[in-house]
């Protein structure tokens, strides 16, 4: 059987009414192994303004490089209580922040390993379908250089997927348009 998929629609300006119950400050709770990281940044529109009616969702593996999902058949440890999902709303200035653990490396298609990364969905009023992107880690230059997805990104734009270290936190802006436009991905 072949059905046409339902069309995607915007979350609209009142997304928080329905979605805030799953908001996440810390993706990795107590007892979860791994190097803790804090990520902060701003979601910025084509006028250079912060998007105050948006959210991002994070999906990630644990520190061993294992996803809490039945289609990940790797024999690696998975802590009880690990889900690997985060939903982070933007504030009045478009800012967002969350803490998590740095994920381990997961397999790449056709063999080898991907660099540690978070997969990210971006939702907001004025966007009819979510955008997909990835966050990589600045202290992984060798793994990043060999990552099968990052290698597909034009070299001049790769930096948009790698946060900058700012104090103890990683600073990562998601820029919709313009000179530093973030790379968005189409996993067709």
């Amino acid at each position: 059987m072949s059905l046409f998929a339902t069309g995607s629609q915007t979350v609209g300006p009142y997304l928080h009414i329905g979605l805030d119950w799953l908001n996440t400050r810390d993706i990795a709770g107590k007892g979860i192994a791994g190097e803790r990281v804090a990520v902060q940044g701003q979601l910025i529109d084509g006028n250079g303004n912060g998007v105050n009616d948006g959210l991002i969702e994070i999906w990630q593996a644990n520190a061993a490089g294992k996803y809490a999902h039945p289609d990940d058949a790797q024999k690696k440890p998975l802590e009880k209580g690990w889900r690997g999902f985060g939903r982070i709303p933007t504030d009045a200035k478009g800012g967002f922040r969350f803490t998590t653990i740095k994920p381990g490396r997961v397999p790449a298609p056709g063999g080898g390993l991907q660099a540690p990364h978070l997969v990210v969905s971006v939702f907001m009023r004025g966007m009819l379908k979510q955008l997909a992107t990835r966050l990589y880690f600045p202290d992984e230059p060798a793994a990043n250089a060999d990552d099968p997805v990052l290698k597909l990104v034009p070299a001049a734009r790769r930096a948009t997927l790698i946060p900058k270290k700012k104090g103890k936190a990683l600073e990562w802006n998601i820029v919709l348009q313009g000179k530093n436009e973030t790379v968005f991905l189409d996993h067709f």
């Binding site: 339902t6 069309g7 289609d71 955008l131 919709l176």
Partner: protein, 248 residues
């Protein structure tokens, strides 16, 4: 009526390795000028085509443990009854191959009967209903069925163009099995005269996919002397089929 199940489980025992490309015209463009706000909120560079890796064919698993038994009834969240026409919204969550998506989280939010959201940025001059918050959630059962009880939302004006009104709608958020199946959509009501004027509705080119966003009156889920029933089936991105499965 969908029944609660104890654990977070996904229905298919067959591992999924890849998801289909969407059929042309079933999904909106990022830049759709009739919806004015898209123009400063869409990428201007082409998306980078990337493979589907383990990171995208997996995704967060939610289940009945994550929702309370009463979360599906938006008319029972306050002391009094909300104003408006009570309705039941039921349907199935399916993949493009027609198979049900079991035990998947369904989140909804909507305006009240007067077309007002209880949100600090909603300045529409219509009353707030102290007995209606407008948010609900539930999970699908083994057959992909879900059920909400709510009130019919009102239409409301917005400033996209002169004399612009949103048709009555309920926002739906779905996860499906993978990062790649994540979907946020809106459910509309049959016969709504505002639909052809609404850029959210018209942004879907494919007529069958566009009309899939319109619920149908459902006598069978209508509760006598209590609430009208509407059926709204949702189709998420489906798995890529192997050559064996494609053979007749």
């Amino acid at each position: 009526m969908p029944s609660r199940q104890s654990s977070r489980t996904l229905n298919s025992k067959t591992p999924r390795k890849a998801y289909r490309k969407f059929h042309p015209g079933t999904q909106p463009a990022y830049n759709y000028p009739p919806y004015a706000s898209t123009q400063k909120r869409c990428p201007t560079q082409p998306l980078v085509i990337a493979p589907q890796t383990l990171s995208e064919i997996t995704g967060p698993v939610f289940g009945w443990d994550d929702v309370k038994p009463t979360d599906h009834d938006l008319t029972r969240q306050h002391k009094g009854d909300p104003i408006g026409e009570r309705i039941v919204v039921t349907g199935r969550v399916l993949e493009e191959n027609g198979k049900p998506v079991a035990n998947t989280l369904v989140e909804v939010w909507q305006a009240n009967a007067a077309g007002r959201y209880p949100h600090r940025t909603d300045q529409h001059n219509a009353p707030i209903d102290p007995n209606f918050s407008g948010a609900g959630r539930t999970c699908t059962d083994a057959e992909g069925r879900y059920r909400f009880v709510t009130i019919r939302p009102g239409e409301y004006p917005w400033r996209n163009h002169y004399n612009a009104w949103r048709p009555a709608h309920i926002h739906f958020s779905l996860f499906g099995r993978a990062f790649l199946t994540r979907m946020v959509t809106q459910m509309y009501f049959p016969g709504d005269p505002l639909l052809p004027y609404d850029p959210m509705f018209t942004c879907i080119e494919n007529e069958a996919a566009r009309n899939r966003m319109v619920s149908v009156f459902d006598w069978e889920s209508t509760i006598p002397e209590q609430a009208l029933g509407y059926r709204f089936d949702i189709v998420l991105r489906g798995p890529e089929e192997t050559p064996m499965e494609k053979m007749p």
